[in-house]
């Protein structure tokens, strides 16, 4: 089996497990929508303020709950599963790539659903021609956040306080992604050019991909 065949197979199995468990669709997404509802309630009935903070709330909730998507139960490999991968001769780098592929797809779906909820609940004022830049920013953020979550998940695998610890590691490191995502629409509204922000997102994704693939073997050893 080639490297890419292994990666695609791992991604396929991951998605299948997720379809059965349904962590993202049944638990994380509804919880994130509840969080979207909490902000206006805490702020008071100030329609102008609610409209203005909509995109910012989307990115904040998206990244915070996105971590839960990246660290979902289906992505937590038990030692037996890791042993099986090792016995089957699966390339650790292919495992990272496959895991990132399936996670990115789920993250993209999660963020798109959250965006629809934000549009309905907050009616934010968006600049003309926003859908394509927003889609690009969400896609790149999804990839970066998943790569970061996968790395943090591996580093904290099997630890008692895994979820809290991995979130502490991911949250600060995800700041370039939040900045890039949020500033893309801001720059579009101010007409100051979105390219630097998309490049920041792309560079972060690339750096994380290089780190993930380059450190795949030590990560494999570390998570045992």
């Amino acid at each position: 089996m080639s490297f890419w065949d292994q990666a695609v197979e791992i991604a396929r199995v991951d998605l299948q497990v997720e379809r059965r468990i349904g962590d993202v669709l049944r638990i994380i997404l509804p919880f994130a929508v509840v969080a979207l509802l909490v902000f206006p309630l805490a702020l008071g009935i100030d329609l102008a303020a609610i409209t203005r903070i909509g995109p910012a709330v989307f990115w904040a909730i998206g990244v915070l709950f996105g971590m839960q998507v990246a660290l979902r139960q289906a992505a937590d490999d038990r030692p037996e599963r890791r042993d099986l991968y090792a016995l089957l001769g699966v390339d650790p780098a292919a495992r990272f790539v496959g895991r990132s592929m399936s996670g990115s797809l789920l993250m993209l779906g999660f963020l798109l659903a959250l965006m629809v909820a934000t549009l309905l609940l907050y009616s934010p004022r968006l600049p003309e021609g926003w859908p394509i830049p927003a889609a690009a920013a969400i896609l790149l953020t999804s990839i970066g956040l998943t790569e970061l979550g996968t790395l943090a998940g591996e580093v904290t695998a099997g630890l008692r306080n895994r979820t809290a610890l991995a979130s502490l590691i991911v949250a600060p490191l995800a700041i370039p992604l939040v900045l890039g995502g949020a500033q893309t629409l801001e720059s579009l509204a101010r007409d100051t050019g979105i390219l630097p922000w998309l490049l920041l997102l792309f560079a972060t994704d690339l750096a994380l991909a290089v780190a993930g693939v380059g450190l795949a073997r030590p990560i494999e050893e570390a998570s045992r």
Binding site: T156, L165, L168, I169, L173, I175, A211, P218, R224
Partner: protein
């Protein structure tokens, strides 16, 4: 041990010289006496960047050579770096309150990115604390230490990349933007803080070695209890 003590003495002497120059250098026309805080703030941040750079290097070296010494260096350097980052943040906030009129200004991306960097390494220390097995701890923290350093250039260049209240670098290749006496005081403090970093890191490495030796000598509680044999029990 003796080397660490000598390093401590040298660091203390240079810190004394740095402090003397800080209080005898000229006062800034606009910032007044508060400009002296910069002599602690800037060297603290420099040492923090240095410490996290050393951590990344030590982490990569551990991943290649798997020698405990690199793990000890990475741990010691992070702990020292976190202390200096906290000092840099605190002194920056005191200076900001005095000069900008507010301790925390969101118009300064350097402040926010430094706080983010601080929490990345708090996460690193939390990860170390969560793993009891020394080999697994060294492995996992080496991976995080190698990745976390991505933040450092972003923090350093944030004043050049974004519109910011924070001033850009004062000492540049084309010359300094302040009087010579101020430059001398700042440079002496940079050297003093660097020596202090080296001394503290060396001392922390000594503590880590002592902790490892103690752990090796300690008998786990369970080992003191032996299972009773049926033949040794009389009243069955």
């Amino acid at each position: 041990m003796r080397t660490t003590r000598i390093l401590m003495v040298i660091a203390a002497i240079s810190l004394g010289a740095g402090l003397y120059l800080t209080f005898t250098s000229p006062t800034d026309r606009l910032q007044g006496e508060f400009t002296r805080i910069v002599n602690i703030h800037a060297p603290s941040m420099w040492v923090a960047f240095l410490a996290f750079g050393v951590t990344a290097l030590a982490s990569i070296m551990w991943l290649i050579f798997k020698r405990t010494a690199w793990d000890r260096l990475a741990e010691a350097s992070v702990e020292t770096g976190v202390i200096f980052t906290a000092t840099g943040l605190f002194t920056g906030m005191v200076w900001g309150q005095a000069v900008w009129g507010r301790a925390w200004d969101w118009a300064d991306p350097r402040m926010a990115s430094t706080a983010v960097m601080f929490f990345v390494y708090i996460g690193y220390l939390a990860l170390r604390k969560a793993i009891p097995d020394p080999i697994m701890r060294a492995r996992r923290s080496a991976i995080l230490g190698a990745i976390a350093v991505i933040q450092v250039p972003l923090v350093y260049f944030s004043v050049n990349l974004f519109r910011s209240l924070h001033q850009t670098q004062s000492i540049r290749p084309d010359g300094a933007t302040m009087p010579d006496a101020m430059v001398v005081a700042l440079l002496v403090n940079f050297v003093a803080f660097t020596l202090l970093y080296v001394a503290l890191t060396a001392a922390r490495i000594q503590v880590a070695k002592a902790e490892e030796e103690r752990a090796a000598e300690t008998v786990p509680a369970g080992d003191a209890v032996t299972t009773p044999m049926l033949s040794e029990v009389e009243d069955v």
